[in-house]
C-alpha cells in the first residue's frame, strides 16, 4: 500500500492542480499534498518497517512478462524519503516566487515527483523504464516554460541527450529480458541472469550510457551546466537534488547486480571517467563567476565521487554512496535555496557583483556556511559520513590496482571543493559590501524554516548516522553479493 500511495498522491494532486485557477490555492495544496507524501514515506520508514505493506504487485502486461511490481527496499526507502522531503522543502523555500500559470507549474512538479517515486520503487524493468521517461516529460515542460532566456534550446538539448541514453537503455533492457529463462521483466529474473562475459561487455555500455548521461559523468555532462543555469531554481533543485540520483540508483540496482562481469571489467575505465570529471569540474568551478554554474559544476564533482566509489565494489563504498545520495540531495538543495534568494533579492548571480552580505544578513550567512561546509564534507556534517565511507571504500577496493591513484585524486577533489566553496563564501558574504548588497537581506520565515530543516539533518546525520546505516546495510550487502563475480560465474 505504501509505495502505491507514494506514487498516487503526487500523481492525483498533480493532475488536479492543472485545474485550480487561484495561485494561492494551488501553492498551498501542492505543499499540503507533498507534506502528506512525506508523512507516508516516514511511516514506511518507521512504523511499517519490514512489513508486507511495503510492496505491491498487480498484473499489467502478463503476456510479455511485465507486472506492475513496486517495493520499498532499504535503498528505495532512503531515496523515497529524499524525494518526499525535497518537494516540501522546495515549495516552502520558493513560497514567495511568482510563476506565470502557477497551476501548470505545480502540477508538473507534482507529476515529476510521481515519476521520480516510481523510478525508485519499480521492481520490474519495463516499469522502471516507464517511470524513468515519465519523470523526464514534466521536467522538459518545466524547464522550457519557466526560466532564463536560452531555456528552450538548452532544455531541448537536455531532453534529446537524456532521451538518447534512455532508448539505448531500453534496447539493453529488451535484450536482457529476452535472455531471462522465464521471459519476465521482473527484477528477480534479471538478477538470475547469466549472460556470457562477451555479451555483457557491450550490454554494459548500453545501460551505462543512460546512467552516465543522467548523473552526469564526464564526458557526457555538457547538458548539465546550461540546463541548471537556465531553469527556474525550484526546478533545478529537483533536477540536481533528486533526478541525478536516478542515475546512481540505476547503476546500483539495475547494472551492478545484473552485469557483474562487465561491471568489474569496465570498472577501471568508468572510474577514470569519473575521476577526470571530478577534477575537471572542480577546476572549472573555481573559475566560475556565476553562482548557479558554480553549484552545477560542484554537483558534477560530487556525483563523480559517488560513481567512483560504486566501482570500487566494497561494502563501505556502496553504503557510503547510498547515504551520500540522500546527503548530497539535501545539501545541494540548501545551496540552491541560497542561490535563489540571492538572485531574487539582488537581481544578479555574479559573484563579482556581490559582497559583504554577512554584515547585514547574519542568519543567512550562518545557514549558508553550514550547508556549504556540509557540501565539502567537514566532520560533524552529514557530508563527512558519506564521503568518509566512500573514500574508505575506494581505498580498500580489491578490484582495481589503481586504488591509490583514485583515492588521492578524490582527495584532491575535496581540497578543490573547499577552495571554490570557501572562495565563493568569502567573496559573496565577507569582504566589503557594495551598493548593491548594502541594504542586506532579511530572511523570510519560510526560507529560514527550509534551511533550518536542512541544517538539522546535516548535524543529526553527521553525528548519529546509525539510522541510515541500518537502513542501507542489508541492501548494500545484497547488491554486493549479487555483483560478486565469483558467485556469478557459478550461476
Amino acid at each position: 500500500m505504501i509505495p502505491v500511495l507514494l506514487i498516487v498522491i503526487p500523481l492525483l494532486s498533480g493532475l488536479t492542480s492543472f485545474f485550480l485557477r487561484n495561485e494561492k490555492t494551488v501553492r498551498s495544496s501542492a505543499l499540503f499534498f507533498s507534506f502528506i507524501t512525506l508523512v507516508i514515506s516516514v511511516l514506511g520508514l518507521t512504523v511499517f518497517k519490514n512489513s508486507s505493506e511495503l510492496q505491491f504487485q498487480a498484473s499489467w502486461m502478463g503476456s510479455i512478462g511485465s507486472s506492475f511490481s513496486i517495493k520499498l527496499d532499504g535503498m528505495g526507502q532512503l531515496l523515497c524519503l529524499l524525494t518526499a522531503l525535497a518537494f516540501p522543502l522546495v515549495f516552502i523555500s520558493t513560497w514567495n516566487s511568482q510563476y506565470k500559470k502557477a497551476n501548470n507549474f505545480f502540477a508538473l512538479m507534482l507529476l515529476m515527483q510521481a515519476g521520480l517515486m516510481g523510478v525508485f520503487l519499480a521492481m520490474d524493468a519495463l516499469l522502471f523504464y516507464f517511470f524513468w521517461e515519465l519523470a523526464l516529460i514534466p521536467a522538459y515542460f518545466l524547464c522550457s516554460q519557466w526560466g532564463g532566456e536560452r531555456r528552450i534550446a538548452v532544455t531541448f538539448k537536455f531532453f534529446i541527450y537524456t532521451f538518447t541514453g534512455s532508448v539505448l537503455m531500453l534496447v539493453g533492457i529488451i535484450y536482457l529480458y529476452l535472455q531471462t529463462p522465464d521471459r519476465s521483466f521482473d527484477i528477480s529474473s534479471f538478477y538470475k541472469l547469466s549472460i556470457s562475459g562477451k555479451d555483457q561487455l557491450w550490454l554494459f555500455w548500453l545501460m551505462f550510457v543512460a546512467f552516465a548521461i543522467k548523473m552526469p559523468i564526464w564526458p557526457l555532462h555538457t547538458w548539465q551546466p546550461d540546463t541548471y543555469e537556465e531553469s527556474s531554481t525550484a526546478v533545478t533543485m529537483i533536477l540536481s537534488g533528486v533526478m541525478v540520483k536516478m542515475g546512481v540508483f540505476g547503476m546500483i540496482r539495475w547494472l551492478m547486480p545484473v552485469l557483474p562481469v562487465a561491471f568489474f571489467q569496465w570498472g577501471d575505465t568508468a572510474t577514470w571517467f569519473s575521476i577526470i570529471g571530478m577534477i575537471y569540474a572542480s577546476l572549472i568551478a573555481i573559475r566560475q563567476n556565476d553562482l548557479k554554474r558554480l553549484i552545477a559544476y560542484s554537483s558534477i564533482a560530487h556525483i563523480g565521487l559517488m560513481s567512483a566509489a560504486l566501482f570500487s565494489e566494497t561494502q563501505s563504498g556502496t553504503q557510503g554512496v547510498m547515504i551520500q545520495m540522500f546527503n548530497h540531495g539535501i545539501n545541494i538543495i540548501g545551496l540552491w535555496i541560497v542561490a535563489e534568494l540571492i538572485e531574487r533579492q539582488f537581481g544578479t548571480r555574479k559573484i563579482s557583483e556581490l559582497g559583504g552580505l554577512a554584515q547585514r544578513s547574519p542568519a543567512l550567512a550562518i545557514l549558508l556556511v553550514i550547508v556549504a561546509l556540509a557540501n565539502i564534507g567537514l566532520p560533524l556534517t552529514n557530508g563527512f559520513i558519506g564521503e568518509f565511507m566512500m573514500f574508505n571504500g575506494i581505498f580498500a577496493s580489491g578490484v582495481t590496482q589503481y586504488y591509490i591513484v583514485f583515492t588521492v585524486s578524490a582527495g584532491i577533489t575535496i581540497i578543490l571543493a573547499a577552495v571554490y566553496t570557501l572562495n565563493m563564501i568569502q567573496k559573496v558574504f565577507y569582504g566589503n559590501s557594495n551598493s548593491l548588497t548594502a541594504p542586506g537581506y532579511g530572511m523570510h520565515i519560510n526560507e529560514k524554516i527550509a534551511l533550518g530543516i536542512i541544517v538539522v539533518f546535516v548535524f543529526v546525520i553527521g553525528v548519529y548516522p546509525k539510522i541510515f546505516l541500518d537502513i542501507t546495510r542489508e541492501t548494500s550487502e545484497y547488491i554486493l553479493r549479487q555483483a560478486d563475480v565469483s558467485t556469478f560465474l557459478k550461476r
Binding site: I64, F130, F156, F159, I160, V167, V171, I174
Partner: protein, 444 residues
C-alpha cells in the same frame, strides 16, 4: 453510397449515410470475429478470414469511422462531388478487406488495385489546384508501374510453383530457384513502393503534400497500414520458409527507410510535409515487423496500426483546420486553443514513442520482436537512434505551440470536435497503459 450523390442534396444526409453505413460494416466485422456467419460464399480457398485479419479490419474500420467523425465536414471544402468522396473511400475499404485476408496472389493483386485506383482519384480531387493534379498523376504513373512489377513477380512465382495460392506452404524449397527468387524480389520491391519504404519512397512526400489534406490523412494512415498488412501476410504466409534469403535485404530497406525518413523530416518547413516524411519513418519502424516475422511482430503491428492511426488522424484533423501549415502557424497555439494543443501534444508524444502513450508500446513491441530474432542487433540500436532524431521534429511542433507566441488564427471548431479529440487522446493513453484492449482479441 455512390448514388447518394445524385439523390441527395443535403450534405448532412450524405454524411449520416456514410457514417451509418460504416458503423454497420464495423459491427458486422466484430460479429463475424466472434463467430457469427452472415453469408456463405465459396471462395475456393482464395480468401480466408482469420483472427488477425478480422482484428486488423476492425482497427481499420474503427479508424475510418473516427476519421469520418472528425473530418467529414472538411471534405466538403475539397470539391463538389461530396457523395463520391465517401463512395471512393468505401471502395478503398473494400480493397483493404481483400488485402488483409488473401490467400491467393490474384486476390492480393485485385485488392491492391481496388485500393489504389480510388486513391488516384481522391488525390486529384481538388481539381483547381495544380499541385493536386500533379500529385495525382505522379501517384497514378508510379502506382501503375509498381503494380506492373507486382504482376511480373506474381507471374514468375506462378511459373516456378504452379499455383497462385500462398497458403499451402508451396514455397518450401531449401534451394529456391532463380525464378522464385526473382518473383519474390519483384514482389518485395512493389510492396515496398506501396508502403513507401526507401528507396521506393520518392512519390510519398509529393503525393501527400499535393493531395487535399483531408485525404492525406486517410492515405497516410489507413492505406499505408493496409499495405503493411498485405506485406506481412505475403511474406509470412508465402515466403516465411525461405526467410534467410530475404532477411538481410529487408533489414537494409528498413535501415534506409528509417534514415531517410527521419533525416529529411528534420529539415522540413511545412508541418504537412513533415508529417508525410514522418509517415515514411514510421513505416520504417513497421518494417521491423516484417524483418522479425514472429508472434510479437504480428501483435506489434496491430498495436502499431491502432496507435499510429489514432495519433495521425488526430493530428491531421487539427492540421486541416489551420490555414497555415508551417511550423510558425502553430506558434502560440496553446494559449489560443489549450484543449487542442494538449491533445495534439499527446498525439505527437505517441508518434515520438514516449512511454504512457500507445506509440511507445507499439515501438516497444517492434523492438522486442526484432531483438528476438537474434540477428542484426545493430538494426535495433539504429532504430532507436532514429527514434531520437524523430523526437526533434515532433517536438518542434510542441515547442511552437507552447513556448512561442504568435497570432491567433481563426478556426471553425465545434465543441463536439474538441470532445472527440479528447476521447481520441484518452484512447491513445489508455492503449499505452493497457494494450490488452486490442491484443486480447487476437487470441479470444
Amino acid at each position: 453510397m455512390m448514388f447518394s450523390s445524385f439523390m441527395l442534396k443535403s450534405k448532412k444526409a450524405i454524411r449520416t449515410i456514410a457514417i451509418g453505413g460504416l458503423l454497420v460494416v464495423l459491427i458486422a466485422n466484430i460479429l463475424e470475429m466472434s463467430g457469427t456467419v452472415f453469408f456463405k460464399i465459396d471462395v475456393k480457398g482464395m480468401i480466408a478470414f482469420d483472427r488477425f485479419g478480422y482484428l486488423f479490419n476492425s482497427i481499420i474500420l474503427a479508424s475510418t469511422l473516427i476519421y469520418f467523425l472528425l473530418s467529414a465536414k472538411d471534405m466538403e471544402k475539397v470539391g463538389l462531388n461530396y457523395g463520391e468522396y465517401f463512395a471512393l473511400i468505401f471502395f478503398v475499404l473494400c480493397g483493404i478487406t481483400l488485402v488483409s485476408s488473401f490467400h491467393s496472389l490474384l486476390i492480393l493483386f485485385l485488392g491492391i488495385e481496388i485500393i489504389s485506383i480510388p486513391l488516384y482519384i481522391l488525390t486529384g480531387s481538388d481539381k483547381k489546384n495544380l499541385k493536386s493534379n500533379e500529385a495525382s498523376l505522379k501517384y497514378f504513373l508510379l502506382g501503375a508501374f509498381s503494380t506492373g512489377l507486382m504482376l511480373m513477380g506474381i507471374a514468375l512465382i506462378y511459373g516456378s510453383t504452379g499455383t497462385f495460392s500462398t497458403a499451402d506452404n508451396v514455397i518450401n524449397l531449401s534451394k529456391p530457384s532463380a525464378l522464385l527468387i526473382g518473383g519474390m524480389l519483384l514482389l518485395m520491391f512493389s510492396m515496398s513502393f506501396k508502403v513507401s519504404a526507401a528507396p521506393f519512397h520518392f512519390w510519398t512526400p509529393d503525393v501527400y503534400d499535393g493531395a487535399p489534406t483531408v485525404f492525406t490523412s486517410f492515405m497516410a494512415t489507413i492505406v499505408k497500414l493496409a499495405a503493411f498488412i498485405a506485406f506481412i501476410r505475403l511474406f509470412y504466409d508465402a515466403f516465411g520458409n525461405i526467410q534467410t534469403q530475404w532477411r538481410l535485404l529487408i533489414a537494409l530497406i528498413t535501415a534506409l527507410t528509417l534514415l531517410i525518413g527521419n533525416i529529411t523530416a528534420v529539415f522540413q518547413q511545412s508541418v504537412k510535409r513533415m508529417l508525410a516524411y514522418s509517415s515514411i519513418s514510421q513505416a520504417g519502424f513497421m518494417m521491423l515487423a516484417i524483418f522479425a516475422m514472429n508472434t510479437e511482430a504480428k501483435e506489434g503491428l496491430l498495436l502499431y496500426a491502432a496507435a499510429y492511426c489514432l495519433a495521425t488522424i488526430g493530428i491531421f484533423a487539427v492540421l486541416v483546420k489551420l490555414k497555415d501549415y508551417s511550423f510558425e502557424g502553430f506558434n502560440g497555439f496553446a494559449t489560443h486553443q489549450p484543449v487542442l494543443a494538449a491533445v495534439t501534444t499527446i498525439f505527437l508524444l505517441s508518434l515520438a514513442g514516449i512511454p504512457l502513450t500507445a506509440g511507445f508500446l507499439a515501438k516497444f513491441y517492434m523492438l522486442m520482436a526484432a531483438a528476438e530474432t537474434g540477428k542484426y542487433l545493430w538494426l535495433v540500436i539504429f532504430a532507436v537512434l532514429m527514434a531520437v532524431v524523430s523526437v526533434y521534429y515532433y517536438f518542434r511542433v510542441i515547442q511552437a505551440m507552447y513556448f512561442k507566441t504568435g497570432e491567433e488564427q481563426p478556426l471553425e471548431i465545434t465543441s463536439v470536435f474538441k470532445w472527440m479529440l479528447v476521447v481520441l487522446a484518452a484512447l491513445v493513453i489508455l492503449l499505452g497503459i493497457y494494450p490488452k484492449l486490442i491484443l486480447y482479441w487476437l487470441y479470444f
